[in-house]
Amino acid sequence: MGLSAKDSLQLREALQTAVVKCSERCLYQSAKWAAELLDALPEPDLDTPMAEDVAEPAVHPAFAPNPDPAEAALEARELSRYLLARSFFDCKEFERCAAVFLPEPLLASLLGTDPADVAPPKAKGKAKAGAVPAVSSDDRLPELSQKSLFLALYAKIIAGEKHKDEEAEMIMGPHDSGAVVNKQLVVVSRFLARWFAKRKADDADYPPTQGFLEYLYGMVLAKEKNDNLALEYLMQSVHLFPWNWGAWQEMTNLISRVEQLNKIAPHLPQNIMSFIFHANAAVNLYQQGPDQAASVNDLLSIFPTSSFLLTCKALLCYHSKDLFAAEHEFNKVLALHPFRLDALDHYSNILYVLNRRPKLAFLAHLCSNIDKFRPESCVVIGNYYSLLSLHEKAVQYFRRALILDRSCLSAWTLMGHEYVELKNTHAAIESYRRAVDVNRRDYRAWYGLGQTYEVLEMHAYALWYYKKAAGLRPWDAKMWQAVGSCLQKMGRDRDGIKALKRALLADSYYDTATAAAAAAPPSSFAGGGGDRTAQMDPEVLLQIATMYDRLGELDEAKAYMELCLAQEEGINAAADDSAGRAAGGGLGESVAVHDSPGSDAEAEAADPATREGTGVTFATSKARMWLARYAIQTRDYATANRLAMELCQDGVEVEEAKALMRQARSGLAELGSAPGGGASSSVAGEDLHHRRQSRG
């Protein structure tokens, strides 16, 4: 998606305006975001814009006065007070800033009393502080420019947040219930409600607003958990002023399902911001797929060096379990913006899973050197300590991250993982719970909760949480597998089988998806075509088989057992199994509990090898044993003998295998020569083949 020179120029101008407007309102994060994006826009060719620059008047639109004359007049009148308020805000004196335009008594009079109250004491307009009694309730709002009003109310909210943080108890201390609320929300929300009501009441003669107050109201509503109304206001806001990234971000946080995203998509303004929003929201919802990758790549062609978009791309790779590509992307971001700490915590997760210890140490060092009091830095360091198995220290750093920012989602989840490692299940559950409270879309926290309850052998609970996690990530085999084994433990074998089959399906889904995502130009890591047959996890197959066995459906059981055995050889039956085994066994143990991507790693790290088959694993040996026993039961002594011999060769449960072998030989001797043995196994093979086709 290329842009014409004119478009590019317009985009540049719009972004410049956005930066100025946002920073005028002290929306620093939005301003930063826009400025970053602006920076990522390649420099225009020197020839064409020169002429236009000359032609253009000296005033850049960013500094042009407000097009609305009434607003412009108000702004001009308030300029000195606005500057005062602005400098207070910059000095972090939020209450004072708010008081410049909305002194406390005024607010109290406006909002403290019930609207129906008969004795409204304060006035409006220029004589705000005067004692002129108000005529009607509608008229009592102070007459301020929208910019000043926004600044004042925004300062109010920030002040409230600050107080909230100050009042909060020690992280996970005895009184830390997370129930402290921002007391200013009520005030601001009432004020805005009235303001909008007033505007609606005498609509007609007002020109469209600037969109910022809508954003503020949406934010407040979101904080009050009034999600639908919040979304509505935020949509209004982005329609009015699409360049405020904060509004888009609030919307991202409000949308918890893909369906919802798809539902609101048509109602959004059609511009590049909405495009970016869509891509980002999808990433946050763990979506992946070729169209996602394509949209991010399109955006990157416009903003080739945008750290935000590169991060999005990296996260996309991460969600689609292509860790190497994700690592590569993050590495690129790091090189382009070495002082940028945002999202490096995700990078550290990836490095953790890949077990790149020196690199993670380096990253932690870098973060700590740049700013050791940023939540991201603390999370990175915590991850590093976790990798060194220094769990107390890791907890200490996650805690620090939370002190710095209580809404730091990954810190809560990771702290939960650490507590699991430390066998402190209560604390683990609490921190997972807090993570979920912060953001209900964090499947890792749900999964962690499930795991913890499973450890405590409370399977019904665990199942509930696993289901939540699986709902968030329907194409993650790990989730379904967890659901399945949970069901199995509860004795609901039928459901368990269903869940596990779903897990098998999900595996194959990801494989194709990854391949598609990786088709994007620069990733040299993820090779491989999309057409290969799915590799299945022998563990899952074994589990399914044992459940069938328990249900007494021996045919099914046998089929799955054989399928499990077949994984050993894989498709190409190469001899590269030792690598696969090492990767699978070495990582799985320590990582699996820590982080659900850990299991991804297992799959991922083993990926190049598993393509050639898993080799002999514990699960396949089990299957083989089962099959041998089954063969003896069905008097197929030749097969039994062969399987037992293989077992002996593999060196797993040799004694038992030898006993089986003896039994089989004696059986063989009994039968004399048994011509049916080979045939039966070939029949089984055919059967298996048939089954696979029917499923596939």
Binding site: A335, A364, L388
Partner: protein
């Protein structure tokens, strides 16, 4: 700055690993282990016998080790690494090891695996392993036991590393990279793969991916450190390093009373210049430094600063120590009154806080002060609860014994002995105390008290007039004990030796002794002052004897500035006596007499028959008389009396000195001031001579002379001989008068004896280079010859007289004839 770990400690750990891996050859073993222990163990252990200069060299080495890796090169490059190819030495081996730590993670690994690589399993661990059914580890070369010095260092390093926060680890890593970087060029020669970014493997690997952006990433991670113009990097030291260096310096300063040598101080300052954390002790070091350099305001300032920071540490109040230090400094700068007040408060505070150690120390100090400045303390004695001096001493002695404060105990015993000597008590009591003191010193190895003890015994021998013993004691101290004792003692006793030499007329030797003192030690202001004073005294005596009165006056003008605030009373007295002598030599007898009278009245004598005692004026004698005169030094009194007798006889009224001489003799006898007793005898004999009692005078002198020679007081012996000659000449006259003329032989014998006595006196004065007295003797000789009618010899004597006069004085003087 980290608490314990520093890059140099990492390198030390690496060297310990060589030891374990067997990289040390046989000849390297001892030097390397010696090097390691010198830096790992407490530096004061086992090194106290080394000379102070050596000790400072160790401190210097420690500083250089902390500051730069090249110190290791000096030590290691000489030895081959036996487990590598020939041609590789231990320095290469160290670099190999250090450069193998190529990332922050590698540093973590290095410390994590430290115990498993270096330490042997303890019995408990072995037992636990056996319980778990694991086989015991195979024996693999050297392993450190857990409690060995190296083992405990390894464990401590491991533990300290585990305690570090991440940012501190990162700091250590950066410091380590910087510490190691100077060796990069050398290492690249040995190892061609080494690249510009090899200090961090992650960067080197990432270079492939990051390309030209690698530098940006590196700068983000390492900050300004990588840029060339990083002016003030944090020094690669830990708080532990700095503290141990500080403690070492303070210990040295306190033990030897010297200042930190210039180069050590500069290096140390350089090292801690950029430390963000300066330990509080450094203020104390500053304080001692400015105290020793005699910088009054800044020493007070630093002292206050130090105690402001440390007053409340470790739940204990240190106010009394602050007061104690303050009092000492005040008295050191001559503010005795303030010092007394401070010390009293310190005593009260220490009592309140039940700090026995501090209390005892303060009391002891207070007692010493009261000895030196009785007038300050006297008014307090009635009102305070301290009691009189003796009670205080008894209290101190028992307390010190109870609490095991050996220094205090021995010093209390010494004080008792000193008090006894001062008051002219029985010598045996004093000796008893001294012996007991020495017993304590020997038994408890209280080396620091040896100096005072020897000083006191020297004084004792001097008083008893046994010069040989005092000289030997002096030499014993200087040769055997000097290096372990406080520098002040050494200086004092050296000055004493010089003084003794000067009193025998061996001025050049005396100067040589004084000049031989280590100039570095004289950087302490007080020490230098004292040293200059001693030199001036020797020179003054020589000038006086050579009749170089102008130079003597110039010196006296300076010396008389010293009051009892800053020097010992003995020296003040000496200066005054020399002043009197100078006045007498100028012939200003009236002024000399007046001054002696002043001094005498100040010393509390009532027996002078001069004008009633006037109030002493100004600085010359600020000591007011005490009603009982109990603490007045008898020694000083006797000397003053003797000087007065001399003056009286010189002014031609020797008979007026009779009572004075008698009194001096009896005082000296009672106090066993034997050296002075013989002088008193001489004075008495002079009076007797003037009264015509020649026989009595001769008998007295003949009895006193041998003892006086024993005391090696050459000048006094000369005087005695001259008196003897006078007496004998008088006897000759008496014989002739009494008609002994017939027996010419007896007269001739007596005359010869008189000549002999004159010759001996002549020798003595010649030894003292005392021109005036020499001339006097020659004149007497010439007169005798003339009386005998031997004009030739008389002429010879007159010629010698003129020769001596010309030679010694070189100016046309107002000679006496």
């Amino acid at each position: 700055m980290l608490r314990y770990l520093s890059p140099s400690k990492i390198a030390l750990l690496a060297i310990i690993e060589f030891y374990i891996e067997g990289a040390l050859g046989n000849d390297a073993m001892i030097p390397i282990i010696d090097f390691l222990t010198a830096h790992l163990l407490d530096s004061s252990v086992g090194s106290s016998l080394a000379a102070p200069a050596d000790q400072w060299r160790r401190a210097e080495s420690a500083i250089r080790l902390a500051a730069s890796i090249h110190r290791f090169e000096e030590v290691l490059a000489a030895f081959p690494a036996v487990d590598r190819l020939p041609g590789r030495n231990l320095w290469d081996r160290l670099l190999e090891k250090l450069w193998a730590i190529d990332s922050l993670h590698a540093l973590h690994d290095f410390f994590d695996e430290l115990p498993s690589r270096c330490l042997a399993k303890t019995k408990k661990e072995l037992r636990e392993m056996a319980e778990r059914g694991e086989p015991p580890p195979p024996p693999q070369g050297v392993r450190l036991t857990v409690n060995s010095p190296f083992g405990s260092f390894v464990r401590k390093a491991h533990l300290e590393f585990a305690k570090l926060h991440f940012d501190h680890v990162a700091e250590l890593w950066k410091a380590f990279v910087r510490y190691r970087q100077p060796t990069a060029a050398y290492w690249r020669r040995r190892n061609p793969n080494h690249g510009r970014l090899s200090f961090d493997a992650v960067l080197e690997v990432g270079q492939g991916e990051w390309g030209s952006k690698t530098n940006d990433v590196a700068v983000a991670a390492y900050g300004r450190m990588l840029l060339a113009d990083d002016q003030d990097p944090a020094p690669p030291v830990s708080v532990d390093d700095v503290e141990s260096l500080l403690e070492f310096q303070i210990e040295q300063v306190q033990r030897y009373g010297t200042r930190v040598p210039q180069n050590v101080r500069n290096q140390f300052r350089q090292l801690i210049k950029n430390c963000r954390v300066t330990p509080n002790l450094s203020h104390y070091l500053n304080f001692t430094d400015s105290w020793r350099s005699g910088e009054f305001p800044s020493s007070f300032d630093d002292l206050h600063r130090y105690f402001d920071y440390t007053m409340q540490s470790r739940d204990r109040l240190f106010y009394q120590y602050a007061l104690l230090n303050l009092g000492i400094v005040q008295s050191d700068f001559g503010c005795h009154k303030e010092a007394v007040a401070t010390m009293l408060e310190a005593i009260a505070t220490a009592k309140e806080n039940r700090d026995t150690a501090c209390l005892n120390f303060a009391l002891n100090w207070f007692f010493q002060l009261s000895l030196a400045h009785p007038h300050l303390v006297h008014s307090l004695e009635d009102s305070s609860m301290l009691g009189s001096g003796r009670e205080l001493l008894a209290f101190l002695r028992t307390k010190a014994k109870e609490t095991g404060m050996w220094i205090l105990w021995s010093s209390a015993l010494l004080s008792e002995a000193k008090l006894a000597l001062l008051k002219g008590d029985s010598i045996s009591t004093a000796v008893e105390s001294m012996v007991r003191c020495y017993h304590v010193i020997a038994e408890k190895n209280v080396k620091s008290m040896i100096g005072p003890h020897h000083a006191l015994s020297i004084e004792l021998w001097d008083r008893l007039g046994i010069a040989a013993m005092s000289a030997i004691t002096n030499e014993v101290f200087l040769r055997c004990h000097a290096r372990t004792s406080v520098y002040d003692d050494r200086l004092r006793l050296t000055c004493r030796v010089a003084g003794a030499l000067a009193s025998r007329g061996r001025y050049d030797e005396a100067f040589a002794r004084l000049e031989a003192i280590d100039p570095d030690a004289l950087r302490s202001a007080r020490a230098e002052q004292y040293w200059r004073l001693c030199r001036a005294l020797v020179k003054l005596r020589r000038d006086l004897h050579r009749n170089d009165l102008d130079s003597a006056d110039a010196l006296l003008a300076q010396l008389l500035q010293h009051g009892p605030e800053d020097v010992e009373p003995g020296i003040v007295l000496l200066v005054h006596l020399l002043h009197v002598e100078a006045l007498a030599r100028r012939g200003d007898f009236a002024a000399a007499l007046a001054k002696v009278d002043d001094l005498l009245s100040a010393a509390g004598s009532r027996t002078t028959h001069a004008s009633p005692p006037e109030k002493p004026s100004g600085t010359a004698a600020s000591a007011t008389t005490t009603p009982t005169g109990a603490t007045t030094d008898t020694h000083a009194l006797v000397r003053l009396l003797l000087v007065k007798v001399q003056l009286l006889s010189a002014t031609g009224s020797p008979e007026r000195g009779f009572t004075l001489a008698m009194r001096a003799a009896s005082l000296a006898w009672r106090a066993r001031l034997l050296a002075l007793l013989w002088q008193s005898c001489g004075a008495l004999a002079g009076v007797l001579n003037s009264l015509g009692e020649f026989a009595a005078a001769e008998r007295l002198l003949v009895a006193a002379l041998p003892r006086c020679l024993e005391a090696e007081a050459v000048h006094d012996a000369g005087l005695l001989f001259s008196h003897l000659a006078d007496a004998r000449v008088g006897l000759v006259g008496a014989m002739r008068r009494d008609g002994y003329g017939r027996k010419g032989s007896e007269v001739g014998v007596m005359l010869a004896k008189a000549h002999a006595a004159l010759d001996r006196a002549m020798e003595c004065f010649a030894a003292m280079e005392d021109a005036g007295k020499q001339c006097e003797m020659l004149a007497k000789k010439a007169a005798l010859y003339r009386a005998e009618g031997d004009m030739v010899r008389a002429e010879q004597c007159a010629e010698r007289y003129l020769a001596v006069w010309q030679e010694e004085v070189g100016v046309v003087g107002r000679g006496g004839g």
